[in-house]
Amino acid sequence: MTHSEIIQILSGFIGSIGFAFLFNIRGWRLVVTAFGGFLSWALFCVLNNFISSEPVNYFIVALVISVYAEIMARLLKTPTTTFITTALIPLIPGSSLYYTMAYAFQSNSESFLERGVYTLQLSSALALGIIIATTLARIHSKK
């Protein structure tokens, strides 16, 4: 684990807590959310050593965190949304989106397209992971 990865994990963790406060999450749910925010980027960094494709990593992390969110939601009897949306905050491709629009402004169409598609790939991977976990959870609860 490199120096910058540790900084990322910590700052992503703090960012998640910030959002948890904004969304008025309290008590044990706050602890679970904060741990989720820590877990999501830590897992990403670990996976980075084995898998070189970022979208694939995003997909796996989203899947694992969503399963974590579903389990915690059942334990604490609260809607899953609470944990999914806040724990995955570090994975939101904010930087990618910024560079997409910066390239658009510089009329650098090649880089713009490349970044834009990449941003889409990342967010689709994220959504896919969440959806698969949610659907599986629903099948399980219907039984």
């Binding site: 807590i17 905050i89 989106l97 402004f105 959504a127 969440i130 949610t134």
Partner: protein, 250 residues
């Protein structure tokens, strides 16, 4: 039945406002109405409107609609409403009890404004650091985060338009970032703006949109997706405006 339906509608509306997915709200309303004794319940919800018809035992039908204009994510409130809707299904609460519990849930505590300002600053600072910014960039981002929160407050007072608020916040964040570069605090605006974009970005909106889409609530999902795309465009527009004006002024 009529009175009870009003409570079911109220609970559903508040859940939607506090950030629940359409699927959950539809399910909750249907279950509550069944618990109230409805033979059949038809619920149709999109993010901006709710229509519920219940069929009572004596062949009476009641239909109520709600127009939803607000969205204010509050997971504590959602948690309490969710709990209340479960209680309604499991126990036989009287109307008075439902009313009391609903009032309690709607008026649940929120964190004070100053803490919210600090949160904006902390989030902006944290993500500047996260995306590779140095310490000074983080501090600048932190200060801009507080200002953005006040900008949002101002914009919400003047015009209650979500898209405009995002545009305005993006203008503030970008302008202050460019000023910070001009003064010489930081070398480039990139990391500072990225940190502040994280507080504005419709990441949660898009996630919810996709979840709605894939659980079969296509219309609600599409509406949310369009909103998320518009917000992203508004953020980009704010940034563009500042870069263009900055090019003219500086």
């Amino acid at each position: 039945m009529k009175n009870l339906l009003i409570y079911a509608m109220e609970i559903g509306e508040q859940m939607l406002i506090s950030g629940a997915e359409v699927h959950r709200v539809e399910e909750s309303i249907a279950r509550m109405c069944t618990a109230f004794g409805a033979k059949r319940t038809d619920v149709f919800i999109i993010t901006s409107s709710m229509v519920v018809t219940v069929y009572a035992d004596n062949n009476e039908t009641h239909t109520q609609t709600r127009r939803i204009t607000k969205s204010d994510i509050n997971y504590e409130k959602l948690h309490r409403l969710n709990k209340l809707s479960r209680e309604i299904c499991e126990k036989n609460l009287t109307e008075q009890e439902i009313k009391e519990k609903l009032d309690l849930a709607i008026n649940c505590k929120t964190y004070p404004l100053w803490l919210e300002c600090i949160c904006y600053a902390v989030i902006a600072g944290a993500f500047t650091l996260f995306f590779g910014g140095n310490l000074i960039e983080t501090l600048v981002s932190f200060v801009i985060g507080v200002t953005v929160r006040f900008g949002i407050l101002l914009s919400e007072k003047a015009v209650s338009n979500k898209i405009f608020t995002k545009f305005f916040s993006s203008v503030i964040a970008s302008a202050l970032a460019f000023i910070a570069v001009k003064i010489g605090f930081v070398d480039s605006v990139d990391k500072v703006i990225i940190g502040n974009i994280m507080t504005l970005i419709p990441g949660i909106g898009l996630t919810n949109a996709l979840r709605d889409l894939f659980t079969g609530d296509s219309i609600a999902g599409l509406l949310r997706s369009i909103e998320a795309v518009l917000i992203a465009l508004a953020i980009a527009a704010g940034y563009f405006l500042v870069v263009v004006l900055g090019g003219v002024v500086l």
